[in-house]
């Protein structure tokens, strides 16, 4: 095997490991809601994407979409039966009052970007 082939194999292997680590081993950072509202920036995903909210209390989640990608134009919180259009650069408030503890995912309209609500 020639040197260039060995190099290509080596870099490809590294590339695959990097891709796995970079996208699939991302640590989730949980943000606890202080007060009764939280702002989520929608840009290449949700920032923050894991938020913990208290059970039984109404929490206002303010989404602000800065990303023009049509993929992120809707946010879906299936367990709370919410599908909301997010106009670009405009704050959209969604109020939820979780009645039970647990983890509930939310995503963009096509299910490509994900976030999580942890009810404690």
């Amino acid at each position: 095997m020639t040197a260039d082939k060995i190099l290509v194999l080596l870099f490809s292997g590294l590339g695959i490991v990097f891709t796995y680590w970079f996208f699939l081993m991302r640590k989730e950072e949980e943000v606890r809601v202080v007060g009764n509202s939280i702002d989520i920036t929608v840009e290449g995903g949700y920032k923050p994407d894991v938020i913990s909210i208290p059970e039984g209390k109404t929490t206002k989640i303010n989404f602000l979409r800065k990303d023009p990608s049509s993929c992120l134009e809707e946010v879906v919180i299936g367990d709370f039966k919410i599908r909301k259009f997010l106009p670009l650069n405009e704050k959209v408030s969604i109020e939820i009052t979780p009645k039970k503890k647990g983890e509930f995912s939310f995503s963009c309209g096509m299910g490509m970007f994900h976030g999580k609500l942890i009810v404690k």
Partner: protein
């Protein structure tokens, strides 16, 4: 970004209200100025859209003790406006990239280039054309991929961005340093056409997809469009036109022929025929008179009416329907979970497969190995289509729930829609569901005294059959006798004294208990019960005097409703508290073979569970009020609409059209929607599972087949369009 908006305010009286509201709204972070006009009762706010929302302003107004009206249509209008703008810009980008891309193809494709003008064959000209496409229409992909990358996530745009950038950068290098490639034994040939055409075709796919997606939410738009804008309110003896948001409960409202009824309420004067099809899906106009309920957004066909507003704003039936449909469209079907799980890992896996493709082709592929590696790994990135998987379920759910709403079938959530297609047994509650729910006296056996005594005794009763007897006595002009010592004997009947003599009125069990001989009546009782009547006997002081037969009539849609279920091989059961003979008679009339009779209301739930234990998937159809526990314990509860309440907690499906044939239609709608979802998922998964390996070149060793990235982009564009279009086909199915 600053924006100015105006909101109508309710509840203002004086100048101090103005200051109060202005101060409260002024304190909201992001609000620049807030001005209230007392004369027009309007608040105008200049605020930063990034920092606060209309909701926050409205809650500040509410905190001050007033109400700001946020028009719900605004959101829909904005969505529509933004979508149209997006479509327009996409159109320009598609035309530009395909036009410039075609010029590059003309100047570089082996056969075509012989007929092309010389300048198009120059690499530097191709570089200019390719760069325009890459950094103008193609910028869309970078705009989405870069923030995602920063966030350590990847999506569809990431794949297109990496794929086209690889092709572009390679071509750029070839153009600038052709001699390096020549020295490596690679013919210096740029692939600007690949990058440009791929961008053009994927944007074209996105254009058609966005256009088709607009159609999936059409039902909500139609419902929102139904809401009337003004109402003619009678205040202080004068008729004035006011905005719909200003109508309050208790207002008297005039509706002239041909006009829309503005809100829900009760007719106080006049009668008319009302077309309710747009809200309830009921196709035949309904005749209404004083005391009847009218529904907002329906059309008054004939007479002039005055009605009292009973429900306004978000409480009206139309507003509840819109909310229910919106919620259903926001919910997730259990079948979607698998697609969600896969799409979370999909894009990184495709990137890894593309890298592996590059390595394998470079090491084991034929010469020129580098070119094969590059083009095949680009093809892998481009052909992968996560969008189709993501769109498969929600688009079908949106069209399905919307179609249901148009027909008066309101589905609470995607899960209910999913379960309904598995139903193989439908249990109908009898009274008020299969029957009209208003019993009438059908026969009196005995002399005139029988009705006179029965009606007098029933005067003090609260039993549902009492009203039927009193109505009959009224119609015959019979006056009531004075009754003393009235007593109701639960489950049996009633007793009381008339002129000092004791009479009893009730079922055969009561007669047996009191020791009356019914020999003379037995044949008549059997005959009446076999016809579906509930028979009550009047007796006293020492013998049975006569019979009163009462019956409820089947709804006109009952027979067809049962038949259409039987035609789908669904077992139909009737459940009732009536005695066996009467129950069987009415079931026979409706065409129902299995009857559960003499079931007390509290035991209906247990009966539902018993049938479920026979491995049946059960739908329970009832009014949703008296039989809520039974509805909730069934696999799916179907409530027949009553009045103007549509959000019946225990029911997964509410039939606001009150048509029993819709039970079968709802099941059919569920079947068709599920079939569409399964087809979509099968297509979306199958597409990726088959074509990604083809793009990797697995067929090359056997058949010599490779996939050009341009064909890959055409396939990928068609894939998501076909999923959305397939969902839209649901609009055309017959249910």
């Amino acid at each position: 970004m600053m924006e100015t908006k105006t909101y109508p305010i309710k509840g203002m009286h004086c100048a101090s209200c103005v200051r109060l509201i202005e101060r409260a709204v002024g304190k909201v972070p992001g609000v620049n100025t807030a001005n209230v006009n007392l004369a027009t009762e309007k608040l105008t706010v200049a605020f930063d859209k990034n920092e606060c929302s209309s909701d926050q302003i409205a809650s500040a107004v509410e905190g001050a003790g007033y109400k700001a009206i946020i028009n719900e249509n605004i959101e829909e209008d904005k969505q529509q406006e933004e979508k149209l703008k997006e479509l327009q810009s996409l159109k320009i980008k598609v035309v530009a990239s395909l036009f410039l891309g075609s010029l590059i193809v003309w100047g570089s494709f082996p056969f075509l280039m012989q007929f092309s003008p010389y300048p198009l064959q120059i690499f530097w000209i191709q570089l200019i054309l390719g760069s325009i496409v890459q950094f103008w229409p193609g910028l869309t992909f970078y705009h989405a991929a870069i923030p995602a990358f920063k966030n350590r996530t990847a999506n569809m745009d990431t794949l297109v961005a990496i794929g086209t950038t690889a092709a572009y950068l390679y071509s750029l290098a070839v153009t600038i340093f052709p001699y390096i490639f020549e020295s490596l034994g690679i013919e210096p040939e740029p692939y600007f056409d690949v990058a440009a055409i791929v961008i053009g075709l994927i944007l074209l796919g996105r254009y058609f997809e966005a256009k088709a997606k607009l159609g999936t939410s059409e039902a909500i738009k139609k419902l929102l469009g139904l809401a009337p804008k003004t109402a003619r309110v009678i205040r202080e003896g004068k008729e004035i036109d006011v905005a719909i948001s200003e109508v309050i409960v208790g207002d008297l409202i005039r509706v002239r022929p041909g006009e829309k009824i503005p809100v829900d309420g009760e007719i106080v004067e006049g009668e008319s025929s009302i077309d309710e099809s747009m809200v309830t899906g009921e196709s035949i106009p309904v005749d209404k008179k004083q005391g009847d309920i009218v529904i907002g957004a329906t059309i008054n066909k004939a007479g002039s009416l005055i009605f009292k507003a009973g429900k306004v704003g978000s409480d009206t039936m139309l507003a509840q329907i819109i909310k229910l449909v919106q919620e259903a469209q926001g919910s997730k079907a259990p079948i979607q979970r698998i697609a969600d799980l896969i799409s979370a890992y999909f894009v990184p896996i495709v990137i890894m497969l593309a890298i592996a493709t590059f390595a394998v082709w470079y090491v084991f592929g034929p010469a020129p190995a580098f070119l094969f590696s590059l083009l095949n790994s680009i093809a892998v990135l481009i052909i992968a289509c996560p969008c189709a998987m993501g769109l498969a379920t929600p688009t079908a759910i949106m069209v399905g729930t919307g179609k249901g709403a148009e027909r008066g079938i309101l589905i609470k959530d995607a899960e209910s829609l999913e379960i309904a297609h598995k139903v193989n047994t439908v249990i109908f509650d009898k009274t008020g569901t299969l029957t009209i729910g208003k019993p009438q006296v059908t026969e009196i056996f005995g002399d005139k005294k029988v009705l006179e005594l029965a009606a007098s005794l029933e005067k003090g009763s609260e039993h549902s059959l009492a009203s039927a007897i009193l109505e009959k006595a009224d119609a015959e002009g019979i006056r009531n006798l004075e009754v003393t010592g009235f007593k109701a004997i639960a489950g049996f009947g009633i007793e009381g004294k008339v002129n000092g003599e004791k009479y009893i009125f009730g079922n055969t069990k009561l007669m047996e208990k009191e020791g009356f001989n019914l020999a003379d009546f037995e044949q008549k009782i059997e005959e009446l019960e076999n016809q579906g009547n509930t028979v009550m006997i009047l007796a006293g002081p020492n013998k049975a005097l006569g019979l009163v037969a009462v019956a409820d009539t089947l709804k006109p849609s009952a027979k067809d409703g049962v038949q259409s279920l039987l035609a789908k091989k669904i077992e139909v059961v009737m459940i009732t508290g009536d005695n066996k003979r009467a129950a069987e008679a009415i079931a026979k009339e409706a065409g129902i073979l299995r009857v559960l009779s003499e079931i007390l209301p509290q035991d209906k739930e247990a009966e539902v569970r018993k049938i479920q234990s026979e491995d049946k998937i059960v739908a329970m159809v009832g009014d949703g009020i008296n039989d809520a526990p039974a509805l909730a314990s069934a696999d799916i509860g179907i409530a027949m609409g009553t009045g103007t309440d549509v959000a019946i907690e225990a029911a997964g499906i509410t039939l606001v059209n009150k048509d029993l044939r819709s039970v079968a239609s709802a099941i059919e709608l569920s079947k068709k929607t599920m079939r569409t979802i399964k087809m979509n998922l099968f297509w979306a998964f199958g597409y990726n599972v088959i074509l990604i390996p083809v793009a990797m070149g697995v067929l090359y060793p056997f058949l010599g087949i490779l996939l050009n990235p341009i064909f890959a982009s055409a396939a990928m564009a068609l894939s998501s369009i076909s999923v959305v279009s397939n969902s839209l086909l649901l609009k055309k199915v017959k249910i």
